[in-house]
Symmetry: C2
Subunit: 416 residues, 2 copies
């Protein structure tokens, strides 16, 4: 993509009411635009990152044997009354049609998925079953001051599992934990599994996945060595204690919750009278788990966890492009060589953003740092005098000269 | 995918209030589930079709030079007041937050995209610009009786173009017409461009794209030979006249509107005072066009246009799978050979749904016809006695025997 043509360039100013770091960087970098508090538009750069995150999640969900569906956001009142959450879930947006039909906007989807599965599943032979979706959700947040970490409209992956026995549920739950940890790693994050105190809808156990960020909403005590972690609010250990699991050193850090999973037991299957027939023909309650990850929240978490004072530092797996190609200087030979490199990279299947603008060196380099694409490639009079380009990783200080005829191959290796 | 594991199998019964043919077939085939009138869940089979349609559209939009973004559905009241549509657009769902903030649910997005583009674009140098999104939209439909053809919640691709001159707008508008016609062809549909009388928001010209369906909502006079078409309500010719364009025969048919495009002139750019600076530094109004296709509506249109009394007949380009592999008979050798064919097809990258259930022949064949996957492959005692499988196109009556060792190669050619 030529940066000159890209919609959503960098901006100097962010409105003063935008106090969250993730939104400030994402707005300045041209990734998102704020429509209203907690409500953002994804510009081309931001949408590319969001889709990469979604695809990493999708791959892991499919690997779990989960099937993707897409449930509606507009949900009739009666299903929410059936679980009592029409009244109790305070973040639920509610609306009336012209004909006075009442609807909720889905902030979570147990009320839809449970009766849906009940329509199709009646026997132990059809269980377990795992369904997920990646869908826009809505929450009537009283304060929306965390940028895309806590939006009034946001993207979310929600997975629901249905089981015949507690043992089967717990086995799957454990698999989901492993998949979640791997998935966060794939997104360039180090996540810690935390036993959670439970949200509005927990009967038994639940876990959160916490990512260390400098300005996190929560605080945890954790162990680098074995992954032990507890929220400081409920922690039974302090920084001074040895790790209760492995005996090594404990640390304290602020963190962001990047996902959560719940053992729902029969809370929702009871509400919808969803039972299965076992081998002996007896009707038994279906057990259920749910597993959420906010996709837009994850995008914001990555920014909170991975940036410096110049801008964002995208992990390669979710970066909007792998390479930021920058032509410096007005000599036509520079533009010609940069154009050739741009074409060669595209032919080689390397995702490249090409800053072809007629702008000052400082502007271009500052923009590259702000946007945060993993590999910066500079073509200038100086590099061309060595028949080279300058290659620098966003996360590192050191740059190297790479011969033009070796450049694409070297980058191709990075992109694999 | 093994059909035994697939969530969303065929159903015999459809509730009596579901009177539209598209929803009846899609529900019976296990593609969608109805949550409420005009509100559907996409089951795994249906979501696969929807995504294929989206990707065909995406490819064509990118080919036009349009950039993909994602705008919010939750939209503050003030932007809708600015265009006067808070009051005038009767299909707008409206809601209030706990803090009495008022929002509309987007049914179209001129109110979001126009001020968004205004934030970034100020000079003639930055125009033209084309932005699109594929997003869930909402309409407070008084009657929702057309299945997924006219949902209260539905998928839509909306493209917006911004121009400095009427000539430039008209050139792009013509390109969009060509792209739309090609895109419908790619989805297996023959669409006719109809000059439209204009909806609520037309100042100058607009066009609809009509697809002939047996039970269409509209009626048109058209010419097979040259593509001339007019809605009968406004047509200046009748069936008895020769085609005014090419002189050939005119026909009459019912049709479904599968897309529409509008020259918006400066209606919305004026409302948001969006001007650009021309070469001489003068401020001039930005011209705008918009171009819509309902993605879920298109899915329903394909079903309306392509089915028989046994079920759906998916065009290969949007089919959930290319091959429906059916093992008939309880002999273990049949299951073994079918399993091998299934594995071979997957290895060859052929999308295959494998009916591995222990069901009667009639059930399996009826399900295959209902689901409507383009190629049906039967493995039975009879076919195995010839070291073959039976291959039959869903759209045709005739079947042929294909040697097992040639099967995958033959199907691979079909899938390319």
């Amino acid at each position: 993509m030529r940066y000159s043509l890209l919609f959503g360039k960098t901006r100097k100013e962010v409105s003063k009411d935008e106090i969250s770091l993730n939104a400030q960087l994402l707005i300045r970098g041209g990734f998102v635009d704020k429509l209203a508090a907690g409500i953002y538009t994804y510009l081309p750069l931001g949408l590319r990152v969001l889709k990469k995150i979604e695809n990493i999640i999708r791959e892991e969900m499919n690997g779990l044997g989960a099937q993707e569906i897409l449930m509606p956001a507009l949900q009739p009142k009666d299903i929410w009354e059936q679980t009592g959450r029409w009244e109790s879930l305070d973040v639920l947006y509610k609306l009336k049609s012209r004909q006075d039909k009442e609807y909720a906007l889905g902030s979570t989807q147990e009320e839809v998925v449970t009766p849906l599965v009940k329509k199709f599943i009646s026997s132990y032979k059809d269980l377990p079953l795992y369904l997920y979706q990646i869908q826009t959700k809505f929450r009537d947040e009283p304060r929306a001051k965390s940028g895309i970490l806590r939006g009034r409209e946001f993207g979310m992956k929600d997975l629901y599992s249905f089981h015949t026995t507690q043992e089967d549920l717990e086995n799957f739950y454990q698999k989901a934990i492993d998949v979640y940890l791997r998935l966060f790693t794939k997104c360039g994050l180090k996540a810690y599994k935390i036993e959670a105190s439970g949200g509005t809808f927990t009967k038994k156990f639940s876990h959160e996945f916490a990512v260390i960020t400098p300005a996190g909403e929560d605080e945890m005590i954790y162990c680098d060595a074995c992954g032990f972690a507890q929220n400081t609010e409920v922690a039974k250990v302090s920084e001074k204690d040895p790790c209760p699991t492995c005996g090594k050193e404990l640390k304290k850090a602020t963190d962001v919750e990047a996902g959560n999973i719940f053992d729902l037991q029969t809370k929702y299957t009871d509400a919808f009278d969803f039972k299965y027939q076992d081998k002996d023909g007896q009707l038994k309650p279906v057990l259920m788990g749910c597993y959420g990850i906010g996709t837009s929240r994850l995008l914001g978490t990555i920014v909170e966890a991975s940036h410096d004072d110049k801008g964002i530092i995208w992990p390669a797996s979710v970066a909007p492009y792998l390479v930021h190609l920058v032509a410096l200087g007005s000599d036509p030979e520079i533009a010609k060589q940069a154009e050739k490199v741009y074409q060669d990279m595209q032919q080689a299947g390397i995702e490249v953003l090409y800053d072809d603008r007629d702008e000052q060196t400082g502007v271009k380099l500052n923009d590259a740092d702000l946007i945060g694409i993993p590999c910066r490639v500079i073509i200038s009079k100086k590099t061309l005098s060595e028949k080279s380009a300058e290659l620098k990783a966003r996360a590192e200080e050191k740059a190297e000269l790479v011969k033009l005829d070796k450049l694409v191959n070297q980058l191709k290796i990075c992109s694999q």
